[in-house]
Amino acid sequence: MKLPIYFDYSATTPVDERVAEKMCRCLTLDGVFGNPASRSHPFGWEAEKLADEARQHVAALINADPREIVWTSGATESDNLAIKGVAHFYHKRGKHIITVKTEHKAVLDTCRQLEREGYEVTYLDVESNGLLDLDKFRDALRDDTILASVMHVNNEIGVIQDIAAIGQICRENKVIFHVDGAQSAGKVEIDMQSLPVDLMSFSAHKIYGPKGMGALYVRRKPRVRLEAQMHGGGHERGLRSGTLATHQIVGMGEAFRIAKEEMAAENARLLALRNRLWNGLKDMEEVYVNGDLEQRIAGNLNISFNFVEGESLMMALKDMAVSSGSACTSASLEPSYVLRAIGRPDELAHSSLRFTLGRYTTEEEIDFVISKLREQVKRLRDLSPLWDMYKAGIDLNSVQWAAH
């Protein structure tokens, strides 16, 4: 077993070797280095052919028409293009947008920008399991609502929103529906023929493709219009100008092709590994899973060890790469806004760790992390005055703390 162990597949994934190999063939003189937009020679034709094949692979994973795929630089750009693109194109119809408090910052900050431009945004709460209450969503709709944006799978807690039901409500109310699918492609079945979703953002590097590459699905029937955010040579039917990055596109295509082929088996394997991890921990005292455990992707386990601060625990787990919803990992001292949104008290939010498993995670690695965690949580609890108080039967909520 090689150390350190990678348990942060929701942050990014290594590029699959099969993907890397295909990408490398699109770079050098003896490879397909041409500009796909060059129509006058075989260098361009070859590159265009590879880009088209990749477009078909991406479309195939989500059962869409290849003409509905727009290449971007990643899910952040796709979110920006979808949300700003719709808002700007349909502003005469209305200026109200609905989204959710647990969305990725790429959606939240884009909405904040639109607020500065005069749009109104409703940020919906989620239930304690991380999922949206459909009635509350319906109640938030207004006559001037033009767009709703809801993520498919949450990046921190891995819960899966019911986008079919949310999309249905949007259809009934003639509201355009955008879904951030950065964390769901290749992990959850996505069938654009049946899903009432108008726009969906995808990323390559979350499923063993390269960083700096993404796509936006833009529905043709019924047609969704967007105002371009990047102007230039009119690539991607004018929706996103810029020379196509053949090697990146080919990488994303191959990653999506592999995902379609291997998703079922991979999900079964990841679920077994995650269950092994949780079964190895759940008998410990004061351990909580954050977010719904059933409506959740197979590779995510987000847990809080009460009375142990998350960053100190990560420091103890120096042989493994995990992420913490706790304050100190980022420059801010705030605990995760996602855990707050599901109603976790701050102290539990400060005590959270996110394990995300992936293609190269092994049973041996899972067993190693279980034993390390049990040992280190005990060590840090022995150091924790809160643990002493809990053991002495003191209700921590009854204590007057000197907040600082």
Binding site: A331, S384, P385
Partner: protein, 126 residues
């Protein structure tokens, strides 16, 4: 974030972890911070008749820098008079542990803890 060697040393081998009888007249207890903020320190000192701190114990819920700050503090206060201990500044702790700016609040908390412990001890002498 990279930690200094001293922070790692105190985190991995914390000194003077433990608990004293906080009802004892010669023990002062300082509990500072809040769980919601992500750190709580409990520092206890045992003071001799001569006003010198004979022993110190701590327990801390918090990040590695918070644990290291309190561990270092227990080493520093032992053998000091209350007056000398009162003079310990958070900047001394931050400097000794090479805390980055985002972690300076951990050293502030440690300074608060020793002040609170001395105050608790003094109030018991009444």
């Amino acid at each position: 974030m990279a930690y200094s060697d001293k922070v790692i040393d105190h985190y991995e081998n914390p000194r003077n972890v433990g608990q004293m009888d906080d009802a004892a007249k010669n023990v002062g207890t300082g509990m500072v911070g809040a769980p919601a903020c992500g750190d709580v320190m409990r520092l206890q000192i045992e003071v001799g008749d001569d006003g010198v701190i004979k022993d110190a114990k701590f327990k801390t819920y918090g990040c590695g820098s918070a644990i290291a700050s309190s561990s270092l503090l227990t080493e520093w206060v032992k053998g000091k008079t209350l007056e000398e201990a009162q003079q310990i500044k958070n900047t001394d702790i931050a400097e000794e542990l090479a805390l980055p700016p985002v972690k300076v609040h951990c050293s502030v908390l440690a300074e608060d803890a020793i002040k609170a412990a001395i105050e608790d001890f003094s109030s018991k002498q009444g």
